[in-house]
């Protein structure tokens, strides 16, 4: 069944040309067990981002791939076959045919160094949390998935509240404001039609789902998302979604929304009443009570929209984990660049003092009081938070033209996003940590 889906997908790309010889070439693929294709992910790769798509489609077709952590930038080993070569050629993905002897040599090298091989066995079913009226090309993850050719479905509040998340292995949140304050956009974009539309759509959803206000709805959505992780889901969040998800969880019994959002002013003693045990990643934060300041709390280190608090952009460095001991964080930081230019979002980074002790820091800025990229476990699942909006548009403004990833096929920042998509495909095994 899966193989058929794979063939359908490929045939969707190539229509007539693929149908004859290429389809025939897949059948004997399994018999050619000695031949493999290595997808290098170091500087030899022609399109790093699409390499994830090629690998995803292999796994989706029910075939087995391997991820060589810390070997040539996080290379993939795929079975050889004409259809696979064709898919890679169309995508501009560099592949290197390797025979059994070469693979044995690679495995020897992996065994002898800080590297490891992880089997990819199940293509995760991907959901992106996005409002129905969201403009296209407004979300780095959506752009990365579309560019790489990884299928995804969109979910929003009614699906989440209705328990629909259990259909998915991987959930992405982008710049949703889970405090229900519309990202405080009214400060900068008063009267904007899209903002009015956002307010209308969210208000209608709250009424439809029986909530008194949008902040109440978003708190319930946040709880459902936390439940999804507890039950074994993989959560990946960027930008505002990271900070506000935890604020919404910690503020389950506290009003932290300004009166324009729910008709009542925020509780002046909110800080003292927040229950950080309910949150995934952060603790002890000070909520920004002033509705006139475009900030949610002191979790974000860069405070991009607050004059006087805004911090300049630097560069963040990926941590080097022990692949054999910590394969999960190792997967999440696979890259051909270790130092990556930073980029703003409404939430750009996470202040170290606000992290829970159990958080794993995946990337930080040297000597800065903030980190960029964090990961942790919750229940049976995991979460990963990545600060910032668009890795290839460091000063992104609303209304900017969308990023064209065909101009950034080697983007190390976007690679981190795609590491997250592929990581749930890894075969579970006993971990030492």
């Amino acid at each position: 069944m899966r193989r058929r889906e794979f063939l359908q997908r490929l045939s969707g790309y190539g229509a007539a040309m693929l149908s004859g010889p290429a389809l025939a070439s897949l059948a004997p693929y399994r018999s050619r067990t000695l031949a493999s294709l290595l997808i290098p992910m170091d500087d030899a790769q022609g399109d790093h981002l699409k390499a994830y798509g090629v690998t995803y489609r292999i796994v989706q077709a029910g075939l087995r791939a391997e991820w060589f952590l810390n070997y040539r930038g996080g290379a993939f080993l795929l079975p050889d076959g004409d259809a696979i070569r064709r898919d890679a050629a169309l995508a501009g993905v560099t592949v290197e045919p390797v025979d059994e002897t070469a693979v044995t040599a690679i495995r020897g090298e992996i065994a002898a160094t800080n590297a490891d091989a992880v089997i990819l066995e199940k293509a995760p079913k991907v959901a992106v949390y996005v409002p129905p009226n969201a403009p296209p090309w407004d979300d780095a993850v959506t752009m990365a998935l579309q560019y790489a050719g990884i299928p995804f479905e969109k979910v929003w509040d009614p699906d989440v509240i209705g328990g629909g998340l259990k259909r998915y292995d991987w959930l992405h949140l982008h710049h949703e404001d889970f405090t229900g304050q519309y990202s405080k956009f009214f400060l900068v974009f008063p009267g904007a039609l899209w903002l009015a539309d956002m307010v209308r759509t969210n208000g209608a959803a709250a009424r439809q789902l029986g909530f008194a206000s949008v902040p109440d709805l978003k708190k319930a959505v946040a709880r459902a998302i936390r439940g999804y992780v507890e039950d074994g889901g993989f959560l990946f969040a960027m930008c505002t979604a990271t900070e506000t998800l935890d604020l919404a969880l910690a503020a389950e019994q506290v009003d932290i929304a300004a009166s324009y959002a729910d008709g009542t002013p925020a509780d002046p003693d909110a800080d003292a009443k927040l229950d950080w045990r309910q949150a995934l990643a952060f603790q002890g934060a000070h909520v920004e009570p002033n509705p006139q300041l475009a900030s949610f709390s002191d979790i974000d280190g860069h405070q991009v929209n607050v004059p006087g608090r805004r911090q300049p952009l630097g560069a963040f460095t990926l941590f080097n984990f022990s692949a054999k001991i910590d394969p999960v964080p190792t997967m999440l930081v696979q890259n051909h660049k270790q130092v990556i230019p930073d980029f703003y979002g409404i939430t750009s980074s996470f202040v170290r003092e606000r992290l829970k002790a159990s958080d794993i820091v995946l990337a930080d800025e040297a000597n800065a009081p903030w980190v960029k990229y964090i990961h942790g476990d919750h229940g049976k699942g995991t979460w990963t938070f990545f600060g910032g909006h668009d890795p290839e548009d460091p000063q992104h403004q609303i209304g900017d033209p969308p990023t064209d990833l065909s101009l950034h096929p080697h983007s190390p920042g976007y690679r981190l996003i795609l590491n997250n998509v592929l990581f749930p495909a890894a075969k579970k095994r006993e971990l030492k940590t």
């Binding site: 501009g92 579309q146 000070h286 009570p289």
Partner: protein, 581 residues
């Protein structure tokens, strides 16, 4: 932008305070604590200063800021009252108290304080401003509207507090009302025009017509009409913008030069062809209103802008008197002459341009002179006056002239002569586009085993003259005279590329591309290039599945072709994997 008097005053007071070290420690500590986000400690530090010096304004403002962050605004009341008892006429302290009364919902106290303050200064708008803004900030728009009405009654001026009123209307998304209030405000304070612009430029598209109508009505003051014109310019109505703007820069208007220059700068920023045209008009008018001794540079700039939008006649009209001005500096005159010759070329007056160039031989810098001669030669070529172009280039041994002479030879059908000159000119003569075009043509000619080919030359001349349809047909006929591996497919590709640029030629272009693609790898580089051009045409026709099919065929069949990266990008766009913009 609209200013908040209390904030600017606070900053000014703080700056003054920073220079007084005796008072500095307590306040400075409070400020540092504020910056660190320790608002409770900051409030305590400011309160300590106020215990010693109750009317210390920086401390009072600091306390207000810190308590606001702690949502304890009510605690500002007592210290603010103590400060006012000591310094009862201090507007900053009065502002703090008014803000606080509004924040804690003591509406009567706020109104009473405003009334007392206003009674002391009956013509001053200040007592009402802070009150109105505070009410607006709290979302109490009806109360703010009532405060404006009361203020206007008490001040006896219906147009008083117009800026506050405009902001109120805007916050309630009544953009037309905001524009009307700005029109009133600008009658009294023309210098607020930038504030009006900044506030109104966010007007949603469906309200823009009413906003500009309100600003540009017959009774509107000059500053409002200018604001309306600049908004129209930014919203894509350049011609109407200029019509309105012209009425504000008459000869009796003292700030007309400044306004014209600002309008031109704004039009430059907009950058559309229509905006560039009105920029040229504004610069031309700017040159007219400047004193003669400084006008030449402005005239040159205006003429360049007019040339940029293809109005050579107007450019010439504005420059001719300046170029003839014997009192101008030699460098300025040379510049005027240069632009004038360009204007003549643009206007198609080639004989006049040639005569002018001959007359100016000794007055222009050598390089400038050469460039103008090349421009004249190009204009002759474009008209098909190849002999005249040849004679212009005959004595010039520069690589640019040699390259141009190569094109003249080619248009005459002298393939060998063209190739010799292209080789002599080398790969870098001219700008990048010119060099690329020459290299592509040299590569094509290299496949043609003929010394002369008049049919090809005539077809290429038609193409250079912009007659794509006729050129495409002529190129197809020329291709028919060549063997398949002797340049036929390359010339056919050129025919297809010429035809595809016209709506009428699309079908013919597709047939040509199909023929080349059918030939396959024996067609050499022409095959992938034709398949890419075909796919581009299909994408334009929104036949995406067909385009995808061709692009995939191209990438897989010609993996080493130089057009594969471009094909992959187009494939991504056709599949919707990247934005189509």
């Amino acid at each position: 932008m609209f200013r908040r008097p209390s904030l600017s005053l606070a900053l000014a007071v703080f700056a003054a305070f920073a220079a007084a070290p005796a008072l500095g420690q307590g306040i400075g500590r409070g400020f540092e604590l504020e910056r660190a986000g320790r608002y409770a400690d900051a409030a305590q530090a400011y309160a300590q200063v106020l215990r010693v010096e109750p009317a210390n304004l920086p401390a009072l403002l600091g306390l207000e800021r810190a308590l606001d962050r702690l949502s304890r605004v009510a605690d500002v009341l007592a210290p603010a009252r103590r400060a006012l008892a000591i310094d009862s006429a201090n507007p900053a302290i009065l502002d703090i108290l008014i803000r606080t009364f509004v924040a804690v919902d003591e509406a009567d106290s706020a109104a009473a304080l405003v009334a007392r303050w206003s009674a002391r200064s009956p013509s001053d708008e200040s007592p009402f401003r802070e009150w109105i803004v505070s009410l607006e900030d709290r979302g109490r728009f009806d109360d703010a509207r009532a405060a404006i009405a009361l203020g206007r009654r008490m001040l006896g001026r219906p147009s008083a507090l117009a800026i506050e009123s405009a902001e109120l209307e805007q916050r309630q998304e009544n953009w037309e009302g905001a524009a009307r209030e700005w029109t009133r405000a600008l009658a009294a304070e023309p210098a607020q025009e930038p504030s009006a612009l900044a506030q109104l430029e966010d007007t949603p598209a469906d309200a823009r017509g009413k906003v500009t109508d309100a600003l540009t009505g017959a009774d509107a003051p000059r500053a409002a009409r200018r604001a309306g014109a600049e908004l129209l310019l930014g919203w894509g109505e350049a011609a109407r913008a200029w019509t309105v703007f012209q009425t504000t820069v008459g000869p009796d208007v003292p700030d007309a030069p400044y306004a014209l220059h600002r309008f031109a700068e704004r039009a430059l920023g907009v950058g559309t062809p229509a905006a560039r045209r009105v920029r040229a008009y504004a610069l031309a008018r700017f040159a007219e209103v400047l004193p003669a001794r400084v006008a030449l540079q402005a005239r040159v700039e205006a003429a360049r802008a007019l040339l940029d939008v293809g109005d050579g006649t107007a450019a010439r009209a504005i420059l001719a008197p300046a170029a003839a001005d014997s009192t101008a500096a030699p460098a300025a005159r040379a510049l005027a002459h240069t632009v004038l010759v360009y204007a003549l070329l643009e206007a198609g007056q080639l004989d006049s341009a040639a005569a002018e160039l001959a007359r100016l031989r000794d007055d222009l810098p050598l390089e400038e002179h050469e460039q103008l001669y090349l421009g004249l030669a190009r204009a002759r070529i474009a008209r098909g006056e190849l002999a005249a172009a040849d004679s212009l280039l005959a004595g010039d041994s520069s690589v640019a002239a040699v390259s141009l002479a190569g094109w003249v030879a080619l248009y005459r059908g002298d393939v060998k002569g063209a190739m010799d000159r292209f080789r002599e000119a080398g790969p870098y003569a001219g700008d990048r586009a010119e060099a690329t075009e020459r290299t592509i043509m040299a590569a094509l000619l290299d496949r043609i085993a003929r010394d002369t080919f008049p049919e090809l030359g005539a077809a290429l001349l038609r193409l250079a003259q912009g007659d794509s349809v006729a050129a495409a047909a002529a190129l197809q006929r020329a291709a028919g005279q060549l063997p398949e591996r002797g340049g036929r497919l390359d010339v056919l590709l050129l025919a297809g590329q010429a035809a595809v640029g016209t709506a009428a030629g699309e079908k013919g272009a597709a047939d040509i591309f199909a023929e080349i693609v059918r030939t396959g790898p024996p067609a050499g580089a022409a095959a992938p290039a034709a398949e890419l051009a075909w796919a581009q045409l299909l994408v334009r026709q929104n036949r995406l599945a067909d385009a995808v099919s061709h692009l995939e065929h191209l990438i897989l069949t010609y993996p080493q072709s130089a057009v594969v990266p471009e094909a992959r990008r187009l494939l991504d766009r056709a599949k919707g994997a990247v934005p189509r913009s």
